[in-house]
Symmetry: C2
Subunit: 350 residues, 2 copies
Amino acid sequence: MSLDDRKKVILQAIVDDYVTTCEPVGSKALIDRHNFTLSSATLRNEMADLEKLGYIEKPHTSAGRIPSDKGYREYVDSLMHIDTISNAEKKDIESRIATGVGEVTDLLKNATNTLSTKTGYVSLAMTPVLKKSYLTQLKLLMIEPGKALVVVVLSAGVVKDKLVRIPNFLTDVQVNEISRAVEKQLSGMPLDEITLITVASSVKNTSIPDSFLNQVLYEAYTAIKQADKLDVYLEGKNRILSIPEFNDVGRAKGLLDTLSDDGMVAGYVNELGTEEISEGDDSYMIRIGQEIALEGLEDCSFITTTYKVGDKISGNIGIIGPKRMEYSKVISQINFVRKTLNDEIKKING
Amino acid sequence: MSLDDRKKVILQAIVDDYVTTCEPVGSKALIDRHNFTLSSATLRNEMADLEKLGYIEKPHTSAGRIPSDKGYREYVDSLMHIDTISNAEKKDIESRIATGVGEVTDLLKNATNTLSTKTGYVSLAMTPVLKKSYLTQLKLLMIEPGKALVVVVLSAGVVKDKLVRIPNFLTDVQVNEISRAVEKQLSGMPLDEITLITVASSVKNTSIPDSFLNQVLYEAYTAIKQADKLDVYLEGKNRILSIPEFNDVGRAKGLLDTLSDDGMVAGYVNELGTEEISEGDDSYMIRIGQEIALEGLEDCSFITTTYKVGDKISGNIGIIGPKRMEYSKVISQINFVRKTLNDEIKKING
DNA sequence: TGTTGGCACTCGGATGTTTTGAGTGCTAAT
DNA sequence: ATTAGCACTCAAAACATCCGAGTGCCAACA
């Protein structure tokens, strides 16, 4: 017994109905809402089959059916047709993303914000994976005696900085000297090849005592390594509380607690990101329910896609919502956000 | 009829009990837990009086009493005695705050984090009020053709920066020239005296065409103004979901929605901050329930205190919790965090 | 006059019972 | 293979009951 066409149509209808009503759907209700040329009895038989095959399940004996993870999977893989997105909405998304932008991270913030508002779910974006990028500039900027700003510029156009302490008596001129020497040595070097040793060995023959020099270089090193860190933008966490599935404070807290651990989310998404995403214009990845290996997300789906910074560097952007989600709509939105984001990044990085 | 000593003791007992049990307290229970030399009947009379006076109220006819806002107010103003804080806890707080610190904002983040963990409530801190401070440095740093980093250093030791777009053909040397000119003109100037005009008029007689120069200066100006912005650090929002009062998703959402509007919270706290806080070592401000003019915080209390950066500049730090809160404990913690924060800031700004 | 034991009363919350109705599976007829 | 029909299930809603911590008030007492 496998999924014949009729079963597919029925499964599709069940998912569609459940998504909109959030209530288990029964044979009668299904007949009412769609004009099947079927009796409810036949439908029941088919539904019993679908259940045996694992595509739908019953919360309890005398209730309707809800899609299982496998059912959703079948749905997103081969049943749904992706929405088109109206021109008005396109305009809206474009203007939201392009507003008040100075650098790539601004775009990411805007994009997550937009996604969250548009979908009504939690959205997230990660900064580009910088490991694959290299250092283009490093500047030490004297702020006042004992304090300097390390400015790190990476190939992806990402700029990070860090305020560090330096020996009190170092002069403006000396700091400049170090700055130039380090930059000369390191610029162009891939980030993961930069070690404390390469940094330390970059400056030689200066008037500055070694021990102090090393202190400065160490700070420069940590600043570089810190720039390497993945940042996560999560938007719209509060919206979780509006989702019926999370009407229970306990559940909501479970989910929110997990989400508030940026590192954990980042790690997970990053891992996913290494999996293959086909290279089309409309490519995305979906993780449904138990497929998500994060505590508290058992009733959620995770839809991510990738954006690009230049040729090789990419990052992830996507949303987290309930399994019971209007996939077709959300996916169309994500795809358009991704497209806009890519375009805008190109504009910035010219 | 006013609050005689016995009534005060009773009110105190009611608040204490209610805070720990989260259940309306009745005459019998009160007698059981405290060894009053009173019968429950007398107690009932006294409680009826306290109710008439508005210090306590009944959720419904046949229930015990809970403190009213006025009751809490009386409690915090004259009934409670502030906890002392153990040495172990002091050490803990000190180490949490002083760990991994580079600049003042790091301290603030650590401090809010500490406060939230220690109290179990939401904690918040605001960056120093910068209006009273002045500009000490302004640097334009060429990143690549068309892009520059504006670094703004303020008297409070606060460093902010912003990546801006500049005309493509401007050279490193030209950017430096502008940078020096602007800094020379503006450094030492109070932030609120800096206007687009003062910035624009700071550079004269250069080789750069006016229209392009103006573009750069405009970006510098917005960067300065942006540095002027108050930042709010809010920590531990999730903890709200663990508070019995907010076991209801609707309420929790109301509160969280308000809190997620940083600007609104900042505005409110800032307004409060202008009110007088006495200058003792242990000074704090409490707003209880309806006294808080923010939607969704009707069942909350707001405890804030101020920290200092140098002589004149100060910022706020505090917590938001349920009205039903162990005030004495929380206040002692806030005070110690404040003290530690002040000490550490002095260390940094030396 | 303030205190106290006593008592009738209240009412939210817990517990138990009944009803309802949408849903199911199965069977026999088409 | 499809379908009408029927007996059965069970969560949720509606209704009923009970319990007890709590109250206010009164009359008696120090």
